[in-house]
Symmetry: C2
Subunit: 422 residues, 2 copies
C-alpha cells in the first residue's frame, strides 16, 4: 500500500474522493431495456436473456420442485452454517420492530405510529462468480420480520444455496431473470412477475442504474449504490496480520473496491504492508485483490482526533476500529455504515453471520443513509384520534395557524366542529 504521511487537511478531500461513476452512458443503454420489459413483458425478458446471456429462457419462474430440491444439493455443514446465520440475523433484526406507542400530546389528542410491512417487495441477487446467498438472508429475513406479504426474488443464478436461502426466508416467488431486465420486471410487473413497491439488492452498474431510473418513477429502492469499501483505523494494539487479512477480504471483491488504512503509528503501517504481500500471494482471487490494493491508501496521521475527523469525512461503508479504546472511538464516529470493534471482529463476521445487515451505504452515502434494517421493509403510518374535549383544546390553535397561512377552509374544518359543541 502507498503510505501517505501526515497529509494536510486541505489534501484530505482529494485523498478521500471516490472514483467518479459515469452514469450517462449506462442510462442510455438501460433505458431501452426498461422500455422493452415494460411494453413486452415476459416475451421482452426472453429476448433480452437470449441477446445478453445467450440463454433460452423457457421457464421464467423457478418451480416449487426446483426450490424444494435445493436443500438436497447442499452439504449438511453449509446448511447448518446458514441456519446459524439465519438465527443471529433474525435475533438482531427482530429487536428493530417498534410497537405502536400511543401518545397524548394534549388532553383528548392522541397520536401514534403503526408499522406495516410493505406489501410487495423485490430482491435482486446477481449471478457471477460469488453466489450471494448471504444477501438472500440479509434482505429476506427483515422482509419476513416486517410482514411483507409478497417477496419476489430475481436472480440469473441457479446456485442451490441461493434457492435454499430463498426457501428459508419465505420468498414467495422466484424468477431466473438477471440484469436491468430483472429490475424492470419487478418495477412494472409482467405476466409472470408481480409488480412490487420497493426493490432491494446489489448488482453491476446496469442493475444499479436501472434501480436509480425506476426510483425516479416512484418505485422505492433500498439505497443508491457504489463500489464496496472498508476503512481500518489501527494502532499498535492491532495485530498487523489481522488488519492485512481484513483489507484483503475487501479487496477481493474487485478492482474498484475501496480500501483505506488509517493509523497514528508508522510501525503499524509498515508491518501491515509486509504481511499484506505474503497473504495476497495465497489468494485464489489475488489478481482482483492486487488491483484494488494498488489503488488503496495507508494514511499516517498525527493523533486520534485527526483520525476520527478523517474517518467521519470519508464515511466508510465498513469501518474497523482496531484500536485499544475502540468502543470509545466508535462513539465519536458519526458517518459510517457499520462499525467493527477490536482485534476479533473482522468485517467477514458482519458480512455473513453476526446478526447485523450487510447491505450498507457506500460511496459516502453513510452521511445521510442507513444500512438495510426492518425499517427498510415497513411503512410507519401515523394515526390520530381527537375527542370532543380534544378538539376544544387544540381547535383554537389550529384556527389561528390556518388563518395565518391564509388557508381558510383548513380553519373552517375546525370551526364547524367547535360550533357544533356550543
Amino acid at each position: 500500500m502507498n503510505i501517505i504521511p501526515f497529509p494536510g487537511k486541505d489534501q484530505w478531500p482529494a485523498l478521500l474522493a471516490r472514483p467518479v461513476q459515469e452514469a450517462q452512458d449506462i442510462e442510455a443503454k438501460v433505458n431501452p431495456i426498461l422500455e422493452k420489459v415494460r411494453n413486452e413483458g415476459d416475451q421482452g425478458i426472453r429476448e433480452l436473456a437470449l441477446k445478453f446471456d445467450k440463454t433460452v429462457l423457457d421457464n421464467i419462474a423457478f418451480t416449487e420442485a426446483e426450490l424444494a430440491g435445493a436443500a438436497d444439493q447442499l452439504d449438511e455443514s453449509l446448511k447448518q452454517a446458514i441456519g446459524q446465520a439465519y438465527q443471529n440475523i433474525y435475533k438482531f433484526h427482530e429487536a428493530q420492530l417498534q410497537p405502536a406507542e400511543k401518545i397524548e400530546t394534549m388532553p383528548g389528542v392522541t397520536c401514534w405510529r403503526k408499522s406495516v410491512g410493505i406489501e410487495k417487495v423485490g430482491i435482486y441477487i446477481p449471478g457471477g462468480s460469488a453466489p450471494l446467498f448471504s444477501t438472500v438472508l440479509m434482505l429476506g429475513i427483515p422482509a419476513k420480520i416486517a410482514g411483507c406479504k409478497e417477496v419476489v426474488l430475481c436472480t440469473p443464478s441457479d446456485h442451490p444455496a441461493i434457492l435454499y436461502a430463498a426457501q428459508l426466508v419465505g420468498v414467495t416467488k422466484a424468477f431466473r431473470i438477471g440484469g436491468a431486465q430483472a429490475i424492470a420486471a419487478m418495477a412494472y410487473g409482467t405476466e409472470s412477475v408481480p409488480k412490487v413497491y420497493k426493490i432491494f439488492g446489489p448488482g453491476n452498474q446496469y442493475v444499479t442504474t436501472a434501480k436509480m431510473l425506476i426510483s425516479k418513477e416512484g418505485v422505492a429502492i433500498d439505497m443508491p449504490a457504489g463500489p464496496s469499501e472498508v476503512a481500518v483505523y489501527a494502532d499498535d494494539t492491532a495485530v498487523p496480520a489481522f488488519v492485512a487479512a481484513d483489507l484483503l477480504s475487501q479487496a477481493e471483491h474487485g478492482p474498484d473496491s475501496q480500501v483505506l488504512l488509517v493509523s497514528t503509528s508508522k510501525k503499524l503501517l509498515s508491518s501491515v504492508n509486509l504481511t499484506l504481500s505474503s497473504q495476497m500471494d495465497k489468494l485464489p482471487r489475488r489478481d482482483l485483490a492486487a488491483q484494488s490494493i494498488a489503488n488503496s491508501k495507508a494514511i499516517l496521521l498525527e493523533n486520534e482526533q485527526d483520525a476520527i475527523e478523517l474517518l467521519n469525512q470519508y464515511a466508510a461503508e465498513h469501518l474497523i476500529l482496531s484500536v485499544e479504546n475502540a468502543e470509545e472511538v466508535s462513539e465519536k464516529i458519526v458517518n459510517a455504515g457499520s462499525i467493527f470493534l477490536g482485534n476479533y471482529t473482522p468485517e467477514s463476521c458482519g458480512d455473513y453471520a453476526s446478526g447485523t445487515n450487510h447491505t450498507l451505504p457506500t460511496n459516502g452515502y453513510a452521511r445521510a443513509y442507513s444500512g438495510v434494517s426492518v425499517d427498510s421493509f415497513v411503512k410507519k403510518i401515523t394515526v390520530q384520534n381527537i375527542t370532543k374535549e380534544g378538539i376544544g383544546n387544540i381547535g383554537p390553535v389550529v384556527e389561528a395557524m390556518a388563518e395565518a397561512e391564509s388557508l381558510d377552509a383548513h380553519k373552517r374544518a375546525v370551526s364547524i366542529r367547535l360550533k357544533s359543541l356550543l
Copy 2:
C-alpha cells in the same frame, strides 16, 4: 361531486389513478438551473433571482437581526398557537428516538444500532400565497430532536411567521433563495450556502424535479412528491357538514388536489354533496376548491370490506375514517400516510398541531414510503464487538459460508484469528 355507484373492481384502477406528471419537459428546464448554481455559486443564484423573480438579491442570507426581529411582527395569539403546536409536535416526535440496545446474538457476539443525526440537512419552504411556517415546524423539530448540527433553510418568502418558526426550531442558517436554485444551492453548496447531505420540503414542479435530479447524484431527499390528497371513508354516523369541510380543506390547496369520498351509504354521499356547495361558496379560495372538487369522486360501495380494499389500493396521503368503528377499520389499513379517526379529528389538526408530521407520501407512494419523522433525520449505524470466545463460536459459520460464496479472503480473515487462538 360526481357519485360513482358500485364500480366493478376492474374499474378501480382507472378510478383511483392519479394524473400523470410529465417530468421530461421540466427536467430540461431544471437541469441548466442546477448546472448554473453548481458552476457559478452565489452569482448564479443572483442572476436566476433577477431572471425568474425580478428580484435584486443583495443579501442572500437572512441576518441575525432579521431573524430576531420576526417575533415582534407577529400577534401574541399566533405566537402562542405556534408555541403550542411546537410542544405537541415535539412531544410526539421525541418518542421516536430509539435508544441503542445491545443484543448478544451468540455468546461473545454483541451487536447494536446507534442513531446519529445527519450532520447537515436542508429545508425548503416555498413562497406563494400560503406562508408555510407550519412546515418549518414539521421539518425543523425532528431535525432538532435528531441532533442535526447544521440546519439550513431556503425560502423566497420573508413572512415573519416563517422566520419566527425558523428561530424556534433552531435553524442555523437561512437564505432568501427560491425555486430549483435553492435545491441546487443546498445540494452543491455555494460561497454562502453550506452543502447539505439531505434536503426536505415541498415545492412546485421545478423544485420537486430538482430534488429528484440531485437525489440521483447521491444527495438524499425526504421523499418523491405529488399533489396533496385526502380520502374520506364515511358512514351514517359521520356528520355530512364535517365531511364536506374536510374535503374542502384539501381542495383549497389547488386544482390538482386529489379528493376522494368513499361510503356504503348513498344517503351520506347525497348529504355531503348538498352541504359541499353551500360551504364552498363562502370560501375565499373557492375558485381553486371548485376546480379540485369538479375532478373529485364520491364512490359508493357495497360493504366495508370493499371500502378497505379500495382505500388500500388508493394509498391516500391523508385518510379520514369517519365511521363508527374507525379504530378497528384503521387496523386493516396497510397503505396510507396518516389516518384520522372519527368525527372530531379533521385533517387540519394533523396539518398544524396535533403532533404528527404533515410531510407525507402522496401519489400512492404510501405503499412503500413513510411520512417524515425523526427517522428521516438520523442514520442508524450498526456496531459489533466480538470477543475471543465469540470468534470461536461464530468463526466456523463464517468460514463455511465464505467458502461457499468463493470469497476466500473473507474466510481467511476469520481463519487467521481462529488459528491465533489455538
